[in-house]
Symmetry: C2
């Protein structure tokens, strides 16, 4: 009875997507096969292409198809400001405000000891190296703006990074608490983010 | 600035999935690229494989990789009973009860004139042909059990099919209303479905 074998494999594969249970996966599979096979094939190609071509920027760790991402290469960005974020979605939210012209360091995660995510996994070492880089004998980065999410784990991450940077004499600021506590940056309206950026403390 | 081009295409492609908005699609893309590239590639392969191999059973219209699905070929099934359902998920729910041993006809949809889904789109013609098939001079199908969902569209679909079949002198029953009105079969507990099957009217 290996009847809908391909179908079962598809349902199982769709369950790899975050937030997708078995019922949703079934609905997705049926929908694609019944109404949108072209969309299904486009998705397959997009997955393969992204897996092959998307890597991490050597400087800021965000997703990019090049060694150094366009933001890090942009000569118009203020290289004395470095904003530390949890993930590319948060970075995109900050970019959309148009209120920030510095550079980024994307942790691609947050400290979560219970899940085995420690300082090494979020690239703490690389961040410190980056901040310690000298240009003409002085630190290029003058200020690090901590913009991790205002959740318990985001605050912990922010605190740990802050301690390490302050020990090196680096100026560290945090997005102002205009951002509602308990929420995640990518879901906050642009005005609030822009305001919080101006009021950073 | 064609930076995360592959990434944007992936986010767009993920939005083809039913119920997935731009934020969910971004989260899915980031998750796959950051934590599960193997899962992403498996999903790509599963999509391509299913699109290539999964078709519809010539007899019951459900998804299958063969001309005639294993259920329709199974000599132990009671060929005098034909259960009409909206989709393979509902069929799977009914199969899981173990309370039904007849055959199926899967509409792969429901009547929805506003969306351009009429009798032709749900295979009404094929259903009538199927019911009219004679074996040794008599109809093989003795009873058609309507098991469309108990929603407005499901009831309409059931009513229209019922009228057409009764006009041909075929015995038509409907799942008993043990199934809560307004709900969809695939979300109903097995016991309720089994009960509704016994009490069909
Ligand atoms: Zn970069
Ligand atoms: Zn079949």
């Amino acid at each position: 009875m290996a009847e809908a074998h391909s179908l079962e494999l598809l349902v199982q594969a769709l369950r790899k997507l975050p937030g997708v249970g078995v019922k949703s996966a079934q609905r997705m599979a049926f929908h694609l096969l019944q109404h949108d096979r072209q969309g299904a094939l486009q998705l397959a190609t997009a997955l393969q292409h992204a897996c092959k071509h998307v890597g991490h920027c050597l400087l800021c760790h965000t997703f990019t198809e090049e060694e150094i991402c366009p933001t890090c290469r942009d000569p118009r960005r203020d290289r004395s400001l470095l904003c530390v974020l949890e993930n590319p979605a948060d970075q995109a939210a900050l970019e959309r405000t148009g209120a920030y012209k510095g550079l980024y360091f994307v942790l691609m995660g947050k400290l979560s000891p219970l899940d085995g995510v420690g300082p090494k996994e979020i690239g703490m070492h690389k961040l410190l190296e980056r901040v310690d880089t000298l240009v003409d004998g002085v630190r290029e980065v003058r200020e690090v703006i901590l913009a991790t999410n205002f959740t318990a784990e985001g605050e912990t991450t922010s605190h740990v990074i802050s301690q390490a940077l302050k020990a090196r004499g680096v100026q560290v600021t945090r997005l102002a608490r205009g951002v509602p506590v308990g929420s995640e940056l990518e879901y906050v309206d642009l005005g609030t983010i822009a305001h919080a950026l101006v009021d950073r403390r």
